[in-house]
Symmetry: C2
Subunit: 419 residues, 2 copies
């Protein structure tokens, strides 16, 4: 395997001639060695401290234009919204919700539709190299079960959130608070099985925060007793170290301080923020404030499930903001003076995402002890959009697409191969 | 052919069951008829006013998920810069020019390199559906001849501009004014042949304008006698109705008025403007001011030769600007209050581009009398990024890529087929 990027603080480590070992039983990485002169069996022995024979080992060699990287982590997307991918974006957020989102999502009361459609959705995100995603489902218990089962069958790693909605949505797509609690507990029990008893609460929470000004005004008007939009979530104990808040485009310093103190993570969704005219979130501000931040595609507020697009759009958003700050005379110092680099975008899509998802000890980089969620990227597939071997992550980030995702592994197991 | 979008003012006309006829001898469209009940021979007879037999006609039928659209027009790109596609964009414009552009472009004094490389470049832009491009070459006479010949051989339509540069570039990539004039005249004679005598001057001109603040300051400092950056070009008679100015991010009202009065067109390059932190050009402002505007990929200031990306990035740029104007309290009225739609992006990439290139009477839409430069788009190719048949142009614009460009025609002749 010619290149194995791992990480340091918002940078990438590229390891040009590394050998990496995975324990198939646990799905964990047992060792990484650069320029190894030993045999595979000797290497495995040195990593595990116990002798092993060649016959116990399955060896895979990468080709010249291939490299291994951590799997991509989509911290915010809506599985049912793949039905209207790419349409309706000439509408502002609130109109778009009413005209498209609620209408299309309500159709998932049809379990046959859920079964057929979610199968296509997961195939598509896996093909795009997403090893771990925070999916929203719909309001429906059965459709959410089908989504979770589809993910389990196809081997992807995911959080699946039941949509809970008892106000400000159409009658045909709403539930009572009591129903919502009951159905949500049913859903958790179904997914977690025997483990559910001890874990009904304290699970990850995902929602949206400060996406656009009219949404912010509306949220505040519903809870005039709260100091801020972020304060509403906090008042209801929804701001925890396992909470993921999407967008966070328009945040006060006070709100950011509250997020930091509660350990809430941000899912930065630049495509959606552009597409729905929400504004430009300042991703470097989150990083500087010590707030966990990863990337989200936010399908179908964002028009594509491609995490490579999310990386590119994160760069575009940061660079537009840098230019605007410069043009209005802000003094740009340190990292603020430098455009978001491709390596940082990769970091956000891997380790950043792992931290937002509360699994940075387990995922996000190819280090011994972590779970092996990884991609084999091939830059020389037929009609590859990458014209030559990338000497830096930049050509991969800015030019590659799903054609370059040759293999996808989750928990040490191959779940997709393009050939 | 199920859908044949043609145009009205910045909108698209979609013709779901149209038949279109092309005269192979001239490459011109002879007629378009919706829901025709006649035979092909009868239709051709009705368009030309003369009887014709079925055997004289070659008929092509499109499949259910295919449609025909005008070819894409890239109004600003640099053919030699495909060598460093996607890299170096963490640098500001001036540093990027010195570290990458001048160094890589100077290598085109090697004609073998030019021959091999330009062949790949044109294959790639054609595969992306570009039927007409304004290419920059390099400073070198021979490499520019090779670029022009490659384009002619492959059947694409193009303007090829020799780079003329006698100041503020490195010694190894500069020329004297006298040499520049002589070589440029040689190049024009070579390309135009017998036609050159009458057309040595009055040809299209392409350059860059108001891309970023430090470039603007530098340009003004070189010509303190001129009132503005745009005024410099005008002072040297370079502002004509055949002039294409790329970027135009930071324009004064006075400069826009000057452009309008001279008939100068704008190549809006949103990807490049994002990528190099140049800022956000206000494309609706150009339209409102009556200035011709098309889209450019600006490879490799922009990281991709995809005109679909240019459309998407034009939408992103407009929408970010709309949000910023809203957030700072601007009163948004009429079109300014509405995000740039997919149909407008298609218009900019076709008719808008044709007008900027001075060929809107001949190109940009599928109307009788115009030259047949067109694409067959196929939304259902294997692994198509478009998940379902597009009921509007939005899914095509936001989701498609080169995999969906099934056939490319220039001047009535097929120059590419993906099968």
């Amino acid at each position: 395997m010619p290149a194995t990027p791992t990480s340091a603080k918002y940078t990438l480590r590229i390891r040009p001639q590394a050998t990496l070992g995975v324990d198939k039983a646990t799905g964990r990485i047992i060792g990484v060695t650069d320029n190894a002169s030993q045999s595979a069996a000797e290497l495995v022995g040195s990593w595990t401290g116990a002798p092993v024979s060649e016959t116990e080992i399955e060896q895979v060699s990468l080709q010249a234009d291939q490299f291994l990287m951590p799997g991509l982590i989509d911290t915010h997307t809506h599985a049912p919204q793949f039905t209207f991918l790419g349409i309706g974006h000439d509408l502002p957020l609130m109109d778009w919700l009413n005209k498209y989102t609620f209408k299309h999502e309500s159709e998932f009361k049809d379990t046959d539709k859920a079964r057929e459609f979610y199968s296509q959705v997961i195939d598509r995100t896996v093909r795009n190299g997403v090893t771990f995603a925070a999916y929203y489902g719909t309001i429906h218990l059965e459709a959410n079960k089908i989504l979770a089962e589809t993910i389990r069958t196809k081997g992807q790693r995911a959080y699946v959130g039941k949509v809970c909605m008892d106000a400000n949505s159409p009658d045909y797509y709403s539930e009572s608070t009591e129903d919502s609690i009951e159905v949500t507990e049913d859903f958790i029990k179904h997914v977690l099985g025997d483990q559910a008893e001890h874990r009904l609460y304290g699970l990850p929470i995902q929602s949206h925060l400060c996406e656009n000004p009219s949404e912010i005004e509306f949220a505040k008007s519903c809870f005039p007793e709260c100091r801020s939009y972020a304060g509403i979530y906090d008042a209801f104990d929804l701001f925890t170290s396992r909470t993921i808040m999407a967008h966070c485009v328009h945040m006060s310093d006070e709100e950011l301080a509250l997020m930091r103190s509660r350990g809430v993570g941000v899912s930065h969704c630049p495509n959606s923020n552009f597409t729905l005219s929400s504004g430009i979130a300042d991703v470097r501000r989150f990083i500087k404030e010590g707030i966990p931040v990863g990337l989200g595609t936010d399908v179908s507020g964002g028009y594509t499930p491609s995490m490579l697009d999310a990386m590119r759009m994160a760069a575009a958003a940061n660079r537009a903001l840098t230019a605007l700050k410069r043009d209005r005379g802000d003094k740009l110092e340190g990292r603020d003076a430098v455009p978001l680099e491709a390596a940082e975008a990769v970091f956000l899509a891997t380790q950043g995402g792992a931290r937002v998802m509360g699994m940075d000890d387990e995922l996000g980089s190819l280090e011994p002890g972590k779970l092996f969620d990884a991609l084999v990227v091939d830059l020389s597939t037929p009609l590859s959009p990458v014209p030559s071997i990338a000497s830096t992550p930049a050509q991969f980030v800015f030019l590659a697409d799903d054609r370059n995702v040759a293999q996808v592994y989750v928990n040490g197991k191959q779940i997709h191969s393009s050939t």
